[in-house]
């Protein structure tokens, strides 16, 4: 458990962690040993000269003082280590998430990752701060006490010792049998959390479908599953907890009986027996708390395992000796790419000379957006090569590659902050004038004028407070600001209303000027601005050439446009 924690954390935290565990162990041993002093204290008190107990009592007081100091230091150290680890862990997770390929992020991940990053991490790291000390003390103090007992009376000590392996066995068995239930329960929680997010985001649709809360079975089913899983957890945890209690209680009863018979037989003084029973009673509570602590530790452990799984998911490999592309010609060479089961590209080759514009056209699902994503290396191809400036993109460091490319996505996501900050993402160190110029070129300035708060207006979660067209303009401004030699456009102008579309074309035109451009196009107006057109269908390039030439050819490409021009059959 600790070992896995250390592995997940990396070596920099290992030392602090070990020191903390050592401190906690020493504290627990000191507590156990201090109880040894109770024997002489009580022997004197129960004897004929109670006054003789005073020196022993002073010694006990000193031991308690040592224990108090140690405990404070070790608790504080636990808190500190826990916090440092939490901080480090968040950073590691954050940076790792940013490096994972886009393909890793499927629908369920948002819920999973957000649970992991909020409650999950806190729970995992809380181990050091909250659970480790009680756990160490619940194990070490009773063991020390048993050692003390053996020292005073071996029969009673051995009787107590017998319980130790049983307790250990029960703990191990419970942990093992619980792992499955815990995992299942987590799975249900995750499922439900995803459903809740879906339920919230799809409210408009669900309302229109007349599906208010009680009728939305997808959510209700997953909530019921959560309850079932929690019931199974309770049933699974009960035997372990009962077994542990039973063992501890049988052990205590045995000590009671054995102590009584030894005392009756005269082999041991009454004071010793009674003291041993008093400190044995002291053992019971920490031992019983083991089952609660165990559950907490298991929860943290499965959280750490999940974390470990995410952290050990390989991001796209970085080149060992990165190459700097000299120019910006883009090329696919016999590229094959699968997305899950689906073959997206099957032996696709093409090239875009530096400074030229390529339009990619095709029906939905033809892989147009994926083509752009492969150029930006959001995924790696299965076979073949994607090249920039003649260099395999896998040979270019991600930083350098990203610096060459400005992307305007189809699906604009804005961060919940001001418009300015969202634009500035394009080039964080840009000066004021550049930011304003980019905004003006994307006709964002009009939007800003209208909004209360202007530049400082908040865009809401995902940009929800802006209209689709307004969001798109922010993303164009962002790309303009970035000023990269390669521009990837995913049907940019379609979201703008016609009144402003012409104006934005100006900005797009500026964005494309003198740059190497690949654009996914759904509208003929966009396509006409390209030097060449590539018609994609079923994972292959079906036709390729200049727009007019392809139209004249009367093949798939001209059919494609004719559908949208065709008069609609009316009744």
């Amino acid at each position: 458990m600790i070992r896995m924690l250390l592995r997940v954390l990396g070596p920099e935290y290992a030392r602090a962690m070990r020191r903390t565990v050592a401190l906690m162990t020493i504290t627990a041993v000191v507590e156990g040993l201090s109880y040894a002093l109770l024997v002489p204290v009580l022997r004197e008190l129960f004897g004929s000269t109670p006054d003789d107990a005073v020196p022993w009592l002073i010694a006990f007081g000193a031991a308690v003082a040592v224990y108090a100091v140690l405990r404070y230091v070790s608790d504080l150290s636990g808190m500190r280590v826990g916090t440092t680890m939490l901080h480090g862990m968040y950073y590691r997770l954050g940076e790792h998430l940013a490096r994972l390929p886009i393909g890793w992020y499927n629908a369920g991940r948002v819920g999973e990752v957000s649970v992991m990053a909020s409650r999950g991490l806190l729970q995992a790291m809380g181990v050091a701060a909250h659970l480790l000390a009680p756990f160490v003390s619940a194990l070490v103090t009773p063991l020390t006490i048993v050692a003390v007992m053996i020292a005073f009376n071996w029969q009673l000590g051995v009787a107590a010792l017998i319980a130790a392996p049983v307790v250990a066995a029960i703990q191990t068995w419970t942990a093992r049998s619980m792992a499955g239930t815990d995992a299942e329960r987590h799975e249900r929680d995750k499922e439900a959390s995803g459903r809740v997010i879906e339920f919230l985001q799809a409210q408009p649709v669900l309302r229109a479908g007349g599906r208010t809360g009680e009728r939305f079975e997808l959510l209700d089913d997953s909530l019921r599953e959560v309850q079932r899983a929690s019931r199974r957890t309770v049933l699974a945890v009960l035997p372990g907890a009962v077994g542990l209690t039973l063992t501890v209680q049988v052990g205590f009863t045995a000590l009671l009986a054995l102590g009584a018979s030894l005392a009756l037989g005269g082999t041991i003084g009454a004071a010793e027996v009674l003291t041993i029973l008093v400190i044995a009673a002291r053992c019971a509570d920490p031992l019983l708390s083991l089952s609660d602590i165990g559950a907490g530790l298991r929860g943290a452990q499965s959280e750490i395992e999940r974390l470990d799984k995410v952290l050990s998911t390989e991001p796209l490999p970085e080149p060992r000796e990165p190459v700097q592309p000299g120019h910006h010609e883009l090329a696919f060479e016999s590229v094959t790419f699968r997305h899950g089961e689906r073959m997206v590209f099957d032996d696709v080759s093409f090239s875009v000379p530096e400074g030229q514009r390529l339009a990619v056209v095709g029906p939905s699902g033809a892989g147009k957006s994926t083509l752009l994503q492969l150029l930006a290396r959001f995924y790696d191809v299965d076979t073949g090569t994607v090249r920039m400036g003649g260099v395999d993109v896998r040979q270019i460091s991600t930083e350098v590659l990203m610096a060459q490319i400005a992307i305007v996505f189809q699906d604009v996501y804005l961060f919940d902050s001001t418009i300015e900050e969202n634009v500035r993402l394009g080039r964080p160190d840009a000066d004021e004038a550049d930011v304003r110029a980019a905004a003006a070129a994307a006709r964002l300035d009009e939007v800003i004028e209208r909004l209360p708060g202007g530049w400082a207006a908040n865009v809401g979660e995902g940009g929800a407070l802006l209209s689709g067209g307004e969001r798109q303009r922010v993303s164009i401004a962002r790309a303009l600001l970035k000023n990269a030699p390669v521009v990837l456009l995913d049907e940019v102008t379609s979201a703008l209303d016609p009144v402003n579309e012409a104006a934005v074309h100006e900005g797009i035109e500026r964005l494309m000027a003198g740059r190497t451009v690949v654009m996914v196009a759904h509208r003929m107006r966009t396509v006409q601005r390209a030097d060449r057109v590539l018609f994609l269908e079923g994972g292959r390039i079906v036709e390729e050439g200049a727009h007019d030439e392809l139209l004249r050819r009367g093949g798939r490409y001209s059919d494609f446009w004719n559908i949208s021009m065709a008069p609609v059959a009316s009744e």
Binding site: G209, Q227, A281, E399, F409
Partner: protein, 596 residues
């Protein structure tokens, strides 16, 4: 039987009062159906815990017998040992039963709570969501309900026994030796004296900040993951988005501040309650009483054994304090959601006659000081289609969202079939109005379920017919499991495909009023075509309101409404408006270059 009933009645009020002490009547109201089970949990726990005193008393009694002068009464010794063993066994049975029952109850109560939350969230005005974060709300339904766990599963039994058991011990100890009892209470008093320090306003504020910081992490991580493609394209691939990291920094420093504020006081409390310290106090007191006042040494034993148990209430409070406080705050957030006013349902729903839609002097603003719609008067006749055009931000989307009653107008009314929407039951309304909006949300469910969302028991043939009409049927057949393909799991659909599914959804619902935001964002030629085809086919008696972006759609409409800045600036037949050569004509010309 009577005795049990009486005991039950006496206990019945206990859990309720407990929750009230956390200040949450609403929760106790929710839990009222479970009151009997709660009483059982508490009784079992108390009996079990009291039985747990037996072995300790047995040791004390054993001491008295062994230390007594004169010959030892062996039978008595063995009787004491057996009594101790029996006590332990009873304790085991009762606490296990109590804990099992409590946890079962907890699962049940959590399910009830979550269902209530979902039901309420399904009824609040859609506008309410735009001011909330999905992550925060999901946390309320998920984590916050889970955080109530200690309150339900642990608090009633454990808290009650944490007070009953020490009380019983205390009474017993007083009968043994009253001065010694007072001495034994010293550590408890010390710990209690420190409690107010934990509840200083500063501490409470830190606690709230801590929760808020936690919430910000959850939000920023949702945002971070959803915006990952932007992060990767702009953020420099190895660098996580700054907002997430600053939320983390913020959280950690809040946490540290909180720890720093608490640590000394907490350590003081822990020391006061720790077994070595308690034993030390008892021994010092005991030694002085034995040496100076001749207290019987055997009388010290009960204090050594039971004295530790006296700290239980404070320990239970301190130990469960964080959890309970967290639970209390979680309950507060749950309550907040449960108390949101739902979009009011009419008490006496009226059934609309026909499906003529009228907007009468409709005004609306998301915020008080910013009106988005400023006095809209508009009539949509059955059998006609009305196209809304206008620049972005002119209020088009808001206007069409009033028809499915996502919001109620702040002034004026929306009337369907002669009845104000506020007078129509929501079931009835949704049987009459369907929509296709730009922001398409598909559910992680099969294609069929997604299309049949509004018509849960639709025939397969009807689903297929709608899919065909929406021009998505062929694409569906190509999917791995055809109509049973689970969207978002087996396959991710492109924007245009999602829009066509959503169109099929509306076509299947087959409502007399159709509201359509002509898709622009992802539309591809097929989707364009499908939408126009659908509009043309539906025609006949329907009332159609469409936000138009395409020239063809505008030309096909019976009426065009030009919206600017929340007001209608021009309206009429497309040809008429062109003749007038006003704002619409300018719009038309700007479109002119669009085709050919």
């Amino acid at each position: 039987m009577n005795a049990i009933d009486v005991a039950g009645a006496r206990e019945r009020s206990t859990p309720t009062r407990l929750f009230d002490s956390v200040g949450e009547q609403s929760l106790s109201r929710l839990l009222r159906p479970h009151v009997r089970s709660f009483a059982a949990v508490v009784i079992l726990q108390v009996v079990g815990a009291l039985a747990g005193l037996a072995p300790l008393l047995a040791v004390a009694e054993l001491g008295r017998t062994l230390l007594a002068s004169g010959p030892i009464d062996e039978d008595h010794v063995w009787l004491v040992v057996i009594a101790g063993a029996v006590g332990l066994f009873v304790r085991l049975l009762f606490t296990a039963a109590s804990s099992g029952l409590g946890h079962m109850l907890d699962g049940q109560a959590q399910l009830t709570l979550r269902r209530q939350l979902a039901a309420r969230l399904g009824r609040v005005p859609i506008g309410w969501f735009s001011r909330r974060r999905t992550g925060e709300l999901a946390k309320v339904v998920g984590e916050d309900v889970s955080a109530v766990h200690p309150l339900i599963a642990h608090a009633p039994g454990e808290l009650v026994s944490a007070f009953v058991v020490p009380l019983a011990s205390l009474i017993y100890l007083f009968t043994v030796e009253w001065r010694m009892t007072l001495i034994t209470l010293i550590p408890v008093v010390m710990a209690i004296a420190l409690v107010p320090l934990l509840m200083l306003p500063a501490r409470t504020r830190e606690q709230e900040e801590f929760d808020a910081a936690m919430g910000r992490i959850a939000d920023s991580v949702v945002e971070f993951v959803q915006g990952i493609s932007v992060v990767k394209a702009f953020g420099g691939s190895g660098r996580a988005h700054g907002k997430f990291l600053s939320a983390v920094d913020d959280f950690v420093s809040t946490f540290l501040r909180w720890v720093r504020g608490m640590s000394l006081v907490a350590a003081g409390m822990q020391l006061a309650l720790s077994p070595p310290f308690v034993l030390l106090v008892i021994l010092i007191g005991g030694t002085s009483l034995i040496t100076s006042d001749g207290m019987a040494p055997a009388d010290l034993l009960p204090f050594l054994l039971l004295g530790l148990g006296l700290t239980a209430p404070v320990a239970a409070l301190g130990h469960g304090f964080d959890d309970m406080q967290a639970a209390g705050r979680a309950v507060g957030r749950i309550k907040e959601v449960l108390e949101v006013e739902p979009l009011p349902e009419p008490v006496h729903p009226v059934v609309p006659q026909g499906h003529r839609v009228e907007l009468r002097d409709v005004r609306f603003g998301y915020e008080d000081d910013r009106e988005v719609l400023r006095g809209i008067d508009l009539v949509l006749e059955p059998g006609t289609s009305t196209a809304v055009v206008g620049p972005s931000g002119s209020g088009k989307s808001t206007l069409v969202q009033l028809l499915p009653r996502f919001f109620d107008p702040t002034h004026g009314s929306v009337v369907l079939g002669g009845v104000d929407l506020r007078e129509i039951g929501s079931r009835q309304l949704y049987r009459m109005v369907s929509f296709v909006f730009q922001d398409v949300r598909l559910l992680r469910a099969s294609v069929t379920d997604n299309i049949a969302l509004a018509v849960p028991h639709a025939e397969r043939d009807d689903v297929v017919r709608a899919a065909r009409l929406a021009n998505i049927h062929d694409r569906i057949l190509e999917l791995p499991h055809g109509y049973e393909t689970v969207i978002g799991e087996d396959i991710k659909l492109s924007g245009g495909e999602a829009q066509r599914i959503s169109l099929a959804r509306a076509l299947l619902a087959d409502t007399p009023v159709l509201v359509l935001d002509e898709a622009t964002a992802f539309a591809d030629p097929q989707t364009d075509h499908a939408i126009r085809q659908a509009l043309a086919t539906l025609g006949s008696d329907r009332t159609i309101l469409v936000i138009a972006h395409r020239l063809e759609t505008v030309a096909d409409a019976d009426t065009v409404v030009m919206l600017e800045n929340g007001a209608i600036v021009e309206r009429g037949r497309p040809a008429e408006l062109l003749a007038v050569d006003g704002k619409f004509a300018a719009f038309w010309r700007s479109q002119g270059g669009e085709l050919r």
